[in-house]
């Protein structure tokens, strides 16, 4: 049962074709990997799915809705969450505040009930607080809730950003280079965390990363991009031995 469908998506920036006729589908509950050499178009694809970039051609379907015309925050509300390669935490805010925001964004109370401290506002404030703390506990981040996001080391920041995306309770989570800047131990923790997240929240994940070992280990299905085009698609074993993939990465055929 597919959750996300990419049909023939192309993206052009001026004269550059960042993506050419890319198609693939991500099924519910899958951990799906998207790999390729630098500049292959992976981040562009993420931007197209989240609505930051408009595809020149093609369709994107999420949960059986076509979402190509929706603004980014609407797609988030539909259940698409994202982490960023270059970490977009709200640096000046505390970890707890960062994690409360996804619930804040969905809260129905407006300015007025906020300003007058109406009961609904306090109720939703507590709810955001509880969910944030629960998520901190789940990702074993208790104890840092009061610290400013900017003051944290990179490994912890990545975990916080992941936690924040999860507070959205997304159906689909896009992970853009989540292992970037992590050492071997932290990467291993990440590799354990992702299936745990799937098990606990039922989240489908679309993962982009350069760490091939990580991708091979966690993903059920992998699509390989090169120069904006799909060159291979299948389970890790198939990809591992696909000569086209090896050529794209190493630039030569393996006999």
């Amino acid at each position: 049962m597919s959750l996300l469908e990419i049909h023939g998506v192309s993206v052009r920036f001026g004269g550059v074709r960042a993506l050419s006729d890319v198609s693939f589908r991500v099924n519910r509950g899958e951990i799906f990997g998207l790999v390729g050499p630098n500049g292959a178009g992976k981040t562009t694809l993420f931007n197209a799915v989240t609505g930051v970039v408009r595809p020149t051609t093609g369709r994107i379907t999420f949960d059986e809705h076509e979402i190509g015309h929706l603004k980014p925050h609407k797609r988030a509300r539909l259940g698409i969450g994202r982490t960023f390669q270059n970490l977009q935490l709200f640096g000046a805010m505390t970890v707890l505040e960062n994690l409360m925001l996804p619930v804040d964004a969905f809260a129905r109370r407006g300015l007025v009930s906020d300003a007058f401290r109406l009961p609904m506002a306090s109720f939703e404030e507590r709810r955001a607080n509880e969910r944030a703390r629960a998520m901190l506990h789940f990702l074993r981040l208790d104890g840092i809730d009061g610290l400013r996001a900017n003051d944290l080391p990179v490994g912890i920041q990545r975990r916080v950003e992941l936690a924040r995306a999860l507070c959205l309770r997304p159906k689909l989570l896009l992970l853009d280079e989540p292992a970037s800047g992590l050492d071997a131990r932290e990467t291993a923790e990440l590799a354990e965390a992702l299936p745990m997240i799937r098990e606990r929240f039922g989240t489908t994940m679309l993962l982009v990363d350069h760490d091939m070992a990580l991708v091979m280990r966690v993903c059920d299905h992998i699509t390989v991009l090169d120069f904006g085009e799909v060159i291979s698609s299948g389970p890790p074993d198939v990809i591992r031995s696909d000569p086209r993939v090896i050529k794209a990465y190493l630039g030569e055929e393996v006999a």
Partner: protein, 339 residues
């Protein structure tokens, strides 16, 4: 954390007590000036919302105030409406104009937004409020006369009575804005300030929130304008000109545009300093010079503002006295997070 909250509560209560009691013993004229301070504090509060919380520079707050003032002026002075009804209309009208100004502001970065607000301020100053353009609103060459209203039966003609009323108005507004700040609204606005793209990725409709903030800020300014009209008893365009807008923006920056306390401090400075100057050989006309000079010096040495710096220094002093603990290092933070 709790100590900070307690300290804050004590400070607020003490400040309120001083603000209520002390003016009982000063002359009528100073009581009137005190009410001016309270009203201008609401105006600076509007700046705190738009610049401090949302991070957008605005040089046209006095223009929004002018809308409030002249709406009250023309409705009460020209059409004999009830003051309170006129005030409600004034706040609504200025909020709407604020949202309108916010629309082009959405796609402009800070610098160009500043230029836009300058253009708006000059548009009001030189065109809209100039005699001959829209006299039924601006009053043309004859300033509107607005009398003091009565508040639930209590006449506000007396200077202390009006001061108490405006102080109450500021206190209420400050409380509302404070609640916004510590609640979801404050977080969302800070998130937008931090990273608009991340904010939209977690479902925040950045456009809506920014426009709401513009509307809120302009509404506060409009309220201040309306109250100014009642305080002074009349409205005339020069009180709302471009220079005033620059000056108040500069003062708010000097005081620290992110804190509500600086709203009070800024308003206090705006009225008290020129008043003090009149008692010295230096003319009060030199006030903008001081503002500009202090602004320059301030920005070179303490960019986040005088008031927050003082608050932080006090906090550090108290914290060090109690715990003597340095800030956590990175390693200590990592150790806290279990594997």
């Amino acid at each position: 954390m709790n100590d900070n909250v307690r300290l804050r509560r004590i400070t607020v209560v003490a400040a309120l007590a001083v603000a209520i009691v002390v003016p009982l013993f000063i002359s009528n004229f100073y009581q009137f000036e005190a009410s001016e301070i309270a009203v201008l504090a609401i105006l600076v509060l509007s700046l705190v919302v738009i610049t401090g919380y949302v991070g957008q520079i605005s040089f046209c707050q006095y223009s929004f105030a002018a809308i409030g003032a002249f709406t009250v002026g023309s409705l009460v002075g020209g059409h004999h409406w009830s003051f309170w009804l006129a005030l409600v209309v004034a706040v609504a009208f200025s909020s709407v104009v604020g949202i309108l100004v916010g629309i082009p502001a959405l796609r402009l970065s800070g610098l160009f937004l500043a230029i836009l607000t300058v253009a708006v301020a000059l548009f009001f100053d030189r065109f809209l409020l100039a005699a001959g353009t829209w006299d039924s609103f601006s009053g043309g060459l004859n300033p509107w006369r607005v009398g003091r209203p009565s508040f639930f039966g209590i006449g506000l003609d007396g200077p202390y009575a009006y001061y108490a009323f405006t102080l109450g108005a500021f206190a209420v507004m400050a409380w509302l804005v404070w609640n916004l700040r510590i609640g979801k609204t404050g977080r969302v606005l800070r998130a937008i300030r931090g990273s608009e793209i991340a904010a939209s990725m977690i479902g925040i409709d950045v456009t809506l929130w920014k426009l709401a903030a513009f509307g809120l800020s302009a509404g506060l300014a409009g309220l201040a304008g309306g109250l100014l009209a009642a305080g002074v008893g009349g409205v005339s365009p020069p009180s709302f000109d471009f220079l005033h807008s620059i000056q108040i923006a500069a003062l708010a920056t000097v005081m620290g545009v992110e804190s509500i306390a600086s709203a009070a401090a800024g308003a206090l400075a705006l009225v008290a300093v020129p008043e003090i100057l009149t008692h010295t050989p230096i003319s009060a006309d030199y006030f903008p010079l001081f503002v500009g000079g202090v602004l320059i010096v301030q920005l070179v040495f303490a960019p986040q503002g005088a008031v927050p710096k003082m608050v932080e220094d006090i906090k550090h002093l108290l914290a060090r006295g109690r715990h003597g603990e340095p800030d956590a290092t990175t390693d200590e933070i990592s150790a806290k997070v279990t594997v």
